[in-house]
């Protein structure tokens, strides 16, 4: 199994641990990641606002890079998945492609349509599949109550409705089950964290994430797993501010999806970069130490 890996911007910067954990997990599961080191930012909505055609062209360039290698694209971020998948859909129209390729030829690139854009969650559940994944689990998550925080963009991305109902997604809960864990459901799991106004209206993002975190805590979740580093940033880095807005302590550690999988695969937590998180992972580490490592 081989993919053109598109980590996005944040996974290589303030959420470096996501890239590290993803590579560890890929190695273990036998997924070969060919990183598109020269691919540009997906636009994240900002470029789409300023210059919609430019965003389309840059994403076409990225898709063309994957096409050159004969591979489908793998993302690890909800927004990257949404914007790349949207560009991909638009580029299925031959007239659009022709127009975009006119620009791309100026830098010696082109894209001819057909590349698939998949998020890691999709790849784990569909391409790898529950059986193979379960076979690699060496440290089942056990009683650790794991809540999912999907983030709105992954659920709204075109093409993901094949595997997730945006109103009632079950992918991460299923994944937790496959990893031998106890998924916890709660009302805010499909809520938006507000990342996209974090710089402009930090107050909104903090209050939005506070609502979700309180509901998760009340439902008994001991840790949240999210498939998007942007959500991770808000939920983790700004959790102290969220607690202040909520008027109560939160202390809910946040894991990237790759880290959650890595833990269950038996990979050392340090190697998964959890020490970089702002909200202490201590409660999780302790809970896991109580579980024995079942298979070496």
């Amino acid at each position: 199994m081989k993919y053109a890996y598109f980590p996005g911007c944040v996974a290589l910067d303030s959420c470096k641990e996501l890239d590290v954990a993803t590579r560890e997990v890929a190695k273990d599961l036998g997924i070969e990641l060919v990183e598109l080191t020269e691919a540009s930012c997906c636009g994240a909505g900002n470029l789409q606002e300023k210059n919609p055609e430019a965003a389309l062209v840059l994403n076409a360039r990225t898709l063309g890079m994957a096409q050159e290698k004969g591979l489908d694209l793998l993302t690890v971020c909800g927004s990257c998945q949404l914007y790349l998948a949207r560009s991909r859909e638009a580029l299925e129209n031959p007239e659009t492609r022709e127009r975009v390729n006119k620009a791309l030829t100026k830098v010696g690139r082109r894209y001819d349509g057909g590349v698939k854009v998949k998020h890691l969650l999709q790849v784990l559940l569909e391409d790898i599949g529950p059986r193979k994944l379960a076979g690699h689990v060496r440290r089942p998550l056990g009683d650790l109550a794991v809540g999912a925080y999907y983030g709105c963009h992954l659920l709204q991305a075109p093409g993901t409705d094949a595997f997730e109902n945006p109103e009632d997604p079950q992918g991460i809960e299923r994944l937790v089950g496959i990893l031998g864990g106890s998924p916890v459901s709660y009302a805010g799991r499909t809520a938006c964290c507000g990342f996209h106004v974090l710089t402009v209206r930090r107050d909104l993002a903090v209050r939005m994430s506070a609502t979700g975190l309180i509901e998760a805590k009340r439902a008994g979740a001991k840790v949240l797993a999210t498939p998007c580093p942007l959500c991770h940033l808000v939920l983790d880095v700004y959790q102290k501010k969220a607690a202040k807005a909520a008027g109560e302590p939160l202390d809910v550690p946040i894991l990237h999806l790759s880290q959650l999988v890595g833990i269950a695969l038996g990979i050392d937590l340090e190697k998964l970069g959890v020490s970089r998180h702002m909200v202490s992972m201590e409660s999780v580490t302790r809970a896991l130490e109580d579980e024995e490592v079942v298979k070496a």
Partner: protein, 157 residues
């Protein structure tokens, strides 16, 4: 526009719960009446978090979230000012300079010194944890391609 003002969009909006001044249904109504300056100068249009719940639920397929995107585009074209436009410009500049965005640069260009001070001790705490975004820019080797493409597209618009 097919909008029947049913309000499903606003009822789906996570921002409106916290900020009643932002009502996407009302923005659509104001756009339809041609209240251009009213809409383009309204700072609340920069409060939309792009969750696309309104787009998913609108029974008439009006795609209100995309309408906000279009309004912001016009506001940027018209060189409007404010924290929202400032952030969008900073972001795109970063893409132009680096290919991938330089988080620290975008943050600083968006909120400035004042904003950083407003973050309090958080930047220091992040630095302590090793969570801070990189201070140094690391442009892609092929960043010139990106710049060429951005220029080409601007020309042809």
């Amino acid at each position: 526009m097919a909008c029947i003002q049913c309000n499903t969009c606003t009822s789906s909006c996570p921002v409106e719960i916290l900020e009643p001044a932002f009502r996407i249904r009302q923005v659509i109504a104001r756009v339809r009446l041609g209240l251009r300056e009213d809409v383009l100068s309204d700072p609340s249009i920069w409060s939309c978090v792009r969750c696309y719940a309104c787009v998913a639920h609108c029974p008439k397929h009006v795609r209100p979230g995309d309408v906000i995107e279009a309004i912001r585009h016009i506001a940027l074209e018209e060189k409007r000012e404010g924290p929202g436009p400032r952030h969008a410009r900073a972001f795109v500049e970063s893409v132009r300079e680096n290919g991938r965005i330089h988080e620290a640069g975008v943050t600083f260009d968006s909120i400035g010194f004042r904003g950083l001070i407003g973050e309090g001790l958080l930047p220091l705490e992040m630095a302590w944890r090793g969570k801070s975004p990189a201070i140094r820019r690391r442009p892609l080797k092929s960043v010139r391609e990106i710049q060429t493409l951005l220029d080409v597209v601007e020309e042809s618009e």
